[in-house]
Every structure is written in structure tokens, then in C-alpha cells.
Symmetry: C2
Subunit: 185 residues, 2 copies
DNA sequence: CTCATCTGAGACAGCGATGTCTCAAACCGT
DNA sequence: ACGGTTTGAGACATCGCTGTCTCAGATGAG
């Protein structure tokens, strides 16, 4: 049982129930409580690491779509494609990483808050470029568009949890709802 | 210090930090811990009451717009107006009641889960009627439209918290984003 | 003023979670 | 098979929170 595997299992368990005790987490990971403590000195350490892991993934997704390059290009088609890819990737992640979305368990750690803000800013830069290129509307702030995307990810997670939407459809739903909204036309 | 006032203060405090202890809550309400216990026998009782309170408000909002009547009318204009009113009302509530949105502190109480489902169903019925009337698009499920609305409320809450959006603009932002999405046109 | 009631501070035991430790068993490469 | 390492089970002290209780002071109606 790798350190990385433990982290993944812990994340899964905390995603399932954010109030899980370390004993719960250890059981879920199939290891003993002592072993868990050997890898992560304290609960706080474990949570911090999970937070970092989530941010790593977020950063990776931004890197994957070359967000800065695409944004600088000003190419509407490329920007829209990047937007769609990014949202689809986030939806995929929302499953495993979702609880760090809704749970503010690292609130207060200035380090994490700062990094979150930097990542959000990178993402928002893409939305701003999309506005510039006429892909996204310009009458609302780019940061609001960022929050709206986040909100739809929460919705996606919830819809899956409630069994209202087949998993394979969620990405497309999020994208089309994000772009076109709910209005008929 | 009324029971209702205590409840409101507790909700505010838990909204601020969902992990507040009863001592925190009592302090925030400006009362002693003993007094808090006199009104609410246990933490669980308090949380249940807050959950019920939130659901009461939700129900009230649905009643306020006459959701069943409007839905049955099939009148597109009336339906869209009700939709807007409802979203605006929810945004207003999201401030005080938001934490019961994201925090699953009553998860497991079948009673609450059931009532939440009933309320959600009432709301979704309006979305379905809106689809019927051509106000909302029919190519996604009404329940997804419900989750999407919820997601945008989470986004609104987050945007306010981050100071990215003036409070008075949030309702209109949610509505326009919900209906039109983020796409330029 | 007086008495009944309500309140806050504090003490207290109980509980679950955390973090440390030990030890025997399981597991590894050699 | 062997010796070093890792592991899980469990014991243990500690901590913070909860829920109960007491008591002295504040409050308020008469």
C-alpha cells in the first residue's frame, strides 16, 4: 500500500463522508490506524496533503489545455475548445476531488488559500480571453463566469449523487448548460 | 433572547464556520452555553431545527410564487416570471441558509431527506412546466435544471464571499446566467 | 421591595477522536 | 531458511466537545 494509494483512498472516503475519523479512513484504505499515522503524522497533515493533491490536479488540468497559450492566441475556436476540454476534465475530477470543493477543511491555511486564488486567476484569465474573443458574454465579470463554472460542477456532483443523470452525460450537460443556459430557443 | 433569535444566530454562526462548537454558537448568540442547552437539549436537536427552518423557508418561497398554480397555467410569461422571482428569492436566502446547502449535516435523517426530495420535486415541477411552455429547453431533464439552479446559488454564495460581485447584482447575475448561460450572442 | 424566574459562569463526568507506543505476526529480499 | 523491515492490533494518555448540574446574580412582575 503506497503512500499515494493511501491518499487516494483517504480522499475517496472523505468524499463519501467528510466527517470520517482516522479509524474510518484507515479501514477504508484497508490498513491499520498505526500505519496511517506512520505515513501522515496528524490528521491535519493528511488533510493538507489532500488539499495539495486536489490543487495539483487542478493545475494539471489548466496545464493540459495550455490555458495561457490559448488565451493569448485570441483564437475563438481554440478558446472554446479549451473551455469545453477544461470543463469536461473538471467534471471527471469532481467525483474524486469534489469534497475539497464543498468542504472548507483547509480554510484558514493562507498557503492553500493563496494557491487556490492563483489557480482560479489562471482559469479566469481563460474566461476573460473568451470574452475578448466573443466566445463568452462580456456583460458579466470573468470572475463571475468562473464562479458559475464552479457552481455547475457542484450541480454535476449532486446530480450524479442523486442518480438523476448518467455519469457519461454529465460533462456534456455541464458544458451546454454553462454556455447556453437553460433557456429554450 | 428569543428562541427564534438564538436559532437565527446559530445559523449565522454555523454558516460562518460549520464546525463551530456549541460554546462558539452560544458566544456568537451572546448567551451562555447553559442557556443554549435550555432551549435545545442537544446539538443534534439544534441542527435538526435549523434544517427544518431552512426547509420551511424553501417551502415558503415555493408557496410565495404559487408554483403549482403557475405550473398548471401553462402561461409562458407567468412561468418565466415565477422562475425569476424564485431564483431571486433563493439568492436572498442563500446568504443565511447557504451552509445547510453545502453542509450535509442532516444527511442520514430520513425525515429531512424525504422532505428535501418533496420540496425539490415541487421546484422541478415548475422547471418541467417551463419546458412544456417553451421557456426552458427540453433537451435536458427537468431535474438537471433543478440541480443547475442549485449550483448557481452555490456560485452566488461563493462570489459574494470572495467579494467578486456586489450583493445587489447577484440575483440578476444568477437569473441571466441560468437562462442564457455564459455564451456570447 | 419581594419573590419567582431566568440567566451566565463554572464544575463535572462521559465520550469519541487523536496521537504515541509496544509487540507479535506477516512480509520481504537474499 | 534467515534477518531486517513493515504491518495491524491493541493499550494508553490526552484533548476537546457534549450534556448535566449547581449556584449566585440579574431580571421582572406584582
Amino acid at each position: 500500500m503506497n503512500r499515494e494509494e493511501i491518499l487516494a483512498a483517504a480522499q475517496r472516503q472523505l468524499n463519501h463522508d467528510p466527517r470520517s475519523s482516522l479509524a474510518d479512513i484507515a479501514t477504508a484504505a484497508g490498513i491499520g490506524r498505526a500505519t496511517l499515522h506512520r505515513h501522515f503524522a496528524s490528521r491535519e497533515t493528511l488533510l493538507e496533503e489532500i488539499g495539495t493533491r486536489s490543487q495539483d490536479r487542478w493545475e494539471q488540468r489548466l496545464d493540459d489545455v495550455d490555458v495561457e497559450v490559448v488565451a493569448a492566441s485570441g483564437d475563438a475556436a481554440a478558446i472554446e475548445a479549451a473551455l469545453r476540454d477544461l470543463l469536461a476534465a473538471f467534471v471527471e475530477d469532481a467525483d474524486d476531488f469534489g469534497f475539497s470543493l464543498t468542504d472548507s477543511f483547509i480554510a484558514g491555511e493562507p498557503e492553500h488559500v493563496e494557491r487556490t486564488e492563483r489557480l482560479f486567476a489562471r482559469e479566469v484569465a481563460l474566461y476573460a480571453a473568451a470574452q475578448e474573443a466573443g466566445v463568452l458574454r462580456g456583460d458579466v465579470s470573468a470572475r463571475w463566469l468562473g464562479h458559475a463554472a464552479y457552481g455547475l460542477l457542484v450541480a454535476a456532483r449532486e446530480a450524479i449523487r442523486a442518480g438523476d443523470v448518467p455519469r457519461r452525460d454529465v460533462a456534456e450537460l455541464v458544458i451546454t448548460t454553462y454556455l447556453r443556459g437553460g433557456q429554450s430557443r
